[in-house]
Symmetry: C2
Subunit: 473 residues, 2 copies
């Protein structure tokens, strides 16, 4: 895709599925089409964030990488042929269909401002770059609910330093490699803080398993070996040792920060140093650090302690300080079940309803597509639980957690940063549960603002908060 | 291992990890040693069932398959060298240490009979063969809580028929292949019913994902292609199409029975035809059919309907009938949260606490070993949650589910068939929750019987069942 783009041509990226290594290609593409995946797979989430059209998990296409072509409906499309996508319906069209960019006109703007005056929940955005942050802000987002930091490890030479860190055998080596990453992460955070001045910015610590940062195919491994001056065998050995049977339930999220506290330290330093720098340039910075994949209060408390200690070291070093919050991402069922304990030392909870849906149902988002059609057809499911929150299961955990969290920490802020934060039906549910905000990708912010107001009106004559028994019903 | 055994030599199987294909080798080995895995990995579960000594997930060894040797503590052990294992401590010894088989003497027998007279929970066993069933019965098991049927698909020529089914493109082809498997499964069930005459036998329908039945390495794929008269490409295509990113959260359990109802039909027919046959031979047969990986009442109801319809067809065909039960395995958090709905049509629940632990914590049992040592060292966990049930998270779900299930179906039978069913601390917890039975591997039956009695004595002056608030606390 990158080559075509360089030649000034418009391109649609067609892949079996996408991974963080495809980010560059996705960035320069007009649209993305994948054969595998679904609503919450990598391609869909990233494309949504970029505001790009995407069809992910199209069973109708079969891709032939070698010949650079794919087949659908009995016709073969070669590299260079025109196709058009409809991301809403999932239709793929032969040829070029004229498209129009969405716009925010005055009428819509008035309507949404009216909506805001009625709504009790705020709408934030999921944004990883200053550009996406500004887009969302223009759509009326009142802050960032989720900044993912993993893409920052792929930028420029960062990936080399990240791989150095992964290949390190001692903490000293890891710290040296992380020190190279720190300044670029800091710059990234500065850009986001600038774009969101005056509004809160929630930044999530590193979440994916480390093997996602290593090349899986042999030719890329050879390339990496040459770049880094190590043997291919050493890299392959590391790839093998990091291989996981179920990466979704593996060594990721806060489990990384607990085994390698130096990652948490580096990211905390980068976030808060960026915050201090921008504060000194006159911006109003409200940083919130979020620890992912918490399952136990002890995990959160240990990570929060590292964050506070690092912050104090930084503040002493700089002779300056800034307020910040530390919160837990609640996406593991066990965290929802023990939220009273976790809330004691947390400033906020953000419900990661994508992963919470995966674990509550036992549905891998990447594999769900194989049996979902059959489940729909036989009436076992009537909606995609990754699209619309499952109130009776996942929703019950969110509700239970919110009550438990507030029971030990009445001031705790509660939000949602899963894809459900942009889904109107789900927003109505989160309103009933009494959350403080939802966070969604930039282009879904307007619809979320409207849904937040509609939720108030729908519930006006009902009990604003369901009674306790409702959780248990 | 099989070769060595044929030469009349004693052998210890040393593998990176085991899979169902290793069953033959495990069967003839004195002990099993694996580099990967843990308390609930394949090697550990199967070895426990066989009553064999096993060390699974030993980080201390590095295996070199090519040279048929492994290294530990700086010393290399080659095929043919003597080693000894201590499965309790995980110690590996150089050389041959004399061992002694455990025996049930009269004193122990008296003690356990006394225990039974006090206990309110029964002890069943997890057994997949007549031999294991008898072993457990001799140790005092009061029935089978879990018969896994997957190994039956690997016996003799069954695997060929199973692979035919997987490669089938139509339901008719699948049914033809399944028809070949039916008589051998029926025979297996007959043997188990005979061994357990007078006691209930819970049989779980097929659980693992289909890709576990296909060879993953090229040479075995070639062999399979030759045996089946299809091209290697066809097999590789199927292997690729069945590949899953997170098989634990993939297309398995009742999801198989829902997409391929003919599997449920075949297994139901085999179970109940075996039951009728043995009844007519004078045995007292009490069959219980268990549907795995239920997450929604609709899943259970649909599978239960197929089972009942198949049973009626069989009973009409044979002009004879037998009583049987149909129950749900509760191992997905969502099932625990919606147990009131699932219980409406279920005769029993069996808590699969292995998978429930995986999903409630978000810990893959196969990958957990990578960060568990660090979690122990830093005090994040104080016990292996796969060994001792996590009362505050997983236990809370079990308790909630038990109360909910009984609220809509007061007669429902509740048991545990996860590894925790043989762990004394966990047994005390299950007693407090008010379950009817625990089920564990044969060699753990005596300790479980003792623990069931101790649980009664410990709780005598306390409230037998925790109050409602305890679940929420």
């Amino acid at each position: 895709a990158a080559d075509w783009h360089e030649e000034g041509k418009k391109v649609i990226l067609v892949r079996l599925e996408t991974s963080p290594e495809d980010l560059k290609g996705m960035n320069v593409s007009e649209g993305i089409l994948t054969a595998r995946g679904g609503m919450t797979s990598h391609a869909a989430i990233v494309a949504r964030g970029m505001g790009k059209c995407c069809i992910s998990g199209s069973n109708a296409i079969s891709i032939d990488y070698k010949n650079r072509q794919f087949e659908t409906g009995g016709k073969i499309y070669r590299e260079g042929d025109w196709i058009s996508l409809n991301g809403t319906t999932g239709d793929i069209y032969s040829g070029k269909i004229p498209t129009q960019n969405p716009e925010m006109d005055e009428d819509l703007s008035d309507l949404l401002n009216l909506a805001d005056s009625i709504a009790t929940m705020e709408v934030r955005t999921n944004a990883d770059t200053p550009h996406d942050s500004l887009t969302a802000r223009n759509f009326g987002a009142r802050g960032i609910g989720l900044t993912r930091t993993e893409h920052m490890f792929f930028e420029g030479n960062q990936i080399v330093a990240m791989r150095e860190m992964i290949l390190s055998n001692t903490m000293e080596e890891r710290k040296r490699a992380l020190a190279k990453i720190l300044p670029i992460q800091r710059e990234d955070f500065e850009g986001i803080f600038e774009a969101m001045t005056g509004l809160p910015v929630t930044i999530r610590l590193l979440d994916p398993p480390l093997h996602e940062f290593l090349p899986q195919d042999e030719s890329s491994q050879k390339e990496m070996a040459e770049t880094m001056g190590v043997s291919v065998e050493e890299i392959q050995e590391k790839v093998n040792s990091l291989h996981e049977t179920n990466p979704m339930l593996g060594h990721r999220g806060c489990r990384l920060g607990i085994t390698y506290p130096e990652i948490t330290e580096m990211q905390t330093w980068a976030i808060l140093e960026a915050a201090l720098n921008m504060k000194n340039k006159g911006f109003e910075v409200i940083p919130e650090i979020m620890v992912p994949l918490i399952g136990r209060a002890k995990e959160f408390n240990q990570q929060a302690e590292i964050i506070h200690q690092t912050a104090e070291r930084l503040f002493k070093d700089k002779g300056d300080r800034i307020k910040y919050k530390v919160g837990a991402m609640i996406e593991v069922p066990r965290a929802a079940l023990t939220s009273d304990l976790i809330a004691e030392k947390a400033d906020f909870f953000s419900y990661g309803t994508n992963d919470l849906t995966q674990m509550t149902f036992g549905f891998s988002r990447d594999d769900f597509g194989k049996f979902y059609p059959s489940y729909l057809k036989k009436g076992i499911l009537t909606a995609d639980p990754f699209q619309q929150v499952d109130e009776n299961g996942v929703g019950r955990l969110v509700h239970f957690s919110a009550e438990k969290g507030r029971s030990t920490n009445p001031d705790i802020k509660l939000g949602v940063c899963g894809e459900h934060g942009g889904n109107p039906e789900s927003i109505h549910f989160f309103h009933k549960v009494g959350l403080n905000y939802v966070s969604c990708s930039p282009f879904r912010v307007p619809i979320a603002r409207l849904a937040c107001a509609q939720a108030v009106i729908k519930n006006e004559k009902k009990i604003a908060k369901p009674e306790r028994s409702a959780i248990m019903a």
